[in-house]
């Protein structure tokens, strides 16, 4: 279990599937959703000095500018691992972050 987010490494997160049945195209669809989510996450992470890279089918590598890196086992753990790397949580209410997002 991930000590930071309390979620098992490869387990389904609440945001993953919108309750979808596991159809033949499920994995394809999920992969595309992860790509979209990665793209969106990078927009939020970059102003906070973090970079995200794909690592496995579910996992990611999250790194600071100085190279400090954590394996993020699952998208659900992203916010918690970002907090660990930065020493504080990324605040979606931060006016500077919101201003940057508005310009992106």
């Amino acid at each position: 279990m991930c000590g930071l987010c309390g979620i098992l490494g490869s387990e389904e997160h609440w945001s993953d599937t919108l309750g979808e049945q596991e159809t033949a195209t499920y994995k394809q669809r999920r992969r595309r959703e992860l790509e979209t989510r990665m793209r969106l996450a990078e927009v939020v992470l970059k102003p906070n000095g973090l970079k995200l890279k794909r690592w496995s089918s579910d996992g990611f590598l999250l790194a600071t500018k100085t190279g400090k890196t954590l394996v993020v086992p699952h998208f659900a753990a992203l916010a918690a691992h970002a907090e660990e790397l930065r020493g504080k949580a990324i605040d979606p209410l931060d006016p500077d972050l919101l201003a940057r997002l508005e310009r992106s």
Partner: protein, 357 residues
């Protein structure tokens, strides 16, 4: 997958409420109802003598009393172990089978860690699910509790049902005044007068995860005007509510990203969140709800609760600014262009490799 697996889990109802507000009386009445047959009960005790336990021994049902006082201090061990122990005994045929668990907390308990335990504890989350939170509050002491006890406020804020007790006493507040106060703390909860003896079906069985009652549950709050409550008097002064309507379909990924980051940064202050979402590419609405850091698996609803197709998000929070919360959500949502292609069309396109993106 999520919905089907979720539906097979044993539902757990949480009955909470401040000291002397009538939790045990309610529990006893509910357990007498035919709908509550096959319910196991877990109660929390404070001190050496468990009066609640003595009362409940008169009721059919397996009772496991948590030791060591307040449930929120020992939530990840005692509560988890009590439920797992019940489940093991059931599987080994040592106790009659049960298909529902009711937990009665102490009056001082913060319900959020209990919700988190049910959602996150590895064994529990695969076999049990939170059905709903029922909070009792007495009509005589409502103001005193809300003004002096943050636990009482939190118990109301996370509630799906609020049962107002002692409304028949001469010094009880008027029903109108009580409703005004309670909607100010929690605009999404159903409020019932205990004197009207709302049914066990209404209180225990109806929940968002039960496919047979999902629509009823969604309609109970989504069709209500939740705006006026933000202007209602809130004696505690500490809790604020925000109701956001979004005119256009939204992108699920952007919403999920926002929610993940907001509960990480401010989960302690976001006591309750409920939403009916119009997701781009989805024909049916998605219901979502969470308590502090814990977000429940989302559910598709079989239809819209009303003719209104807007997304609606209601948040109950403290120590945060409503305008900033709303701006933050809208800014994140603007990052994703929601799909205009239905899931069925995407499925068909993916299957034939015609539209890769």
């Amino acid at each position: 997958m999520t919905a089907d697996r979720h539906d097979k889990k044993i539902p757990v109802n949480l009955i909470t409420g401040f000291l002397g507000s009538g939790k045990t009386t309610l529990l006893q009445r509910l357990l007498e109802a035919p709908e509550a047959a096959g319910t196991a009960v877990i109660i929390n005790e404070i001190g050496e003598i468990s009066l609640d336990h003595i009362l409940l021994e008169q009721v059919d049902g397996e009772v496991a009393v948590l030791k060591g006082g307040c449930i929120c201090c020992t939530v990840r061990t005692d509560l988890g172990e009590a439920i797992i122990s019940l489940n093991d005994k059931k599987d080994r045929g040592l106790i009659p089978p049960f298909d529902r668990v009711v937990i009665e907390t102490t009056g001082l308990a913060d319900p959020a860690p209990i919700v988190a335990t049910l959602m996150l504890e590895r064994v529990l989350r695969h076999r049990f699910r939170l059905s709903n939170v029922i909070t009792t509050i007495d009509a005589v002491n409502i103001h005193r509790h809300l003004e002096n006890n943050i636990e009482a406020v939190k118990q109301l804020a996370v509630a799906d049902r609020i049962l107002v007790t002692k409304t028949d006493l001469p010094d009880a507040e008027t029903t109108e005044r009580i409703e005004e106060v309670l909607y100010g703390v929690n605009p999404t909860a159903e409020i019932h007068d205990a004197q009207a003896r709302p049914s066990a079906h209404k209180l225990l069985i109806t929940d968002i995860s039960n496919p047979e009652t999902r629509m009823q549950e969604a309609q109970s709050w989504a069709t209500r005007d939740t705006h006026h409550s933000t202007h209602a008097q809130n004696p505690s002064g500490a809790i604020k509510t925000l109701s956001i309507e979004l005119d256009q379909p939204i992108g699920w990924n952007a919403f999920a990203l926002w929610l993940t980051f907001i509960v990480q940064a401010h989960g302690e202050n976001i006591l309750r969140l409920k939403g009916i979402l119009n997701i781009g590419g989805e024909n049916l609405p998605i219901a979502i709800h969470g308590v502090q850091h814990t977000i429940h698996p989302p559910h598709h609803l079989e239809e819209w609760p009303s003719d209104d197709r807007r997304s609606k998000v209601v948040m109950i929070f403290r120590n945060l600014e409503a305008t900033t919360l709303e701006k933050s959500l809208r800014t994140f949502l603007a990052l994703e262009e929601p799909s205009v292609i239905s899931r069925e069309m995407q499925e068909a396109a993916l299957a034939s490799d015609k539209i890769p993106a």
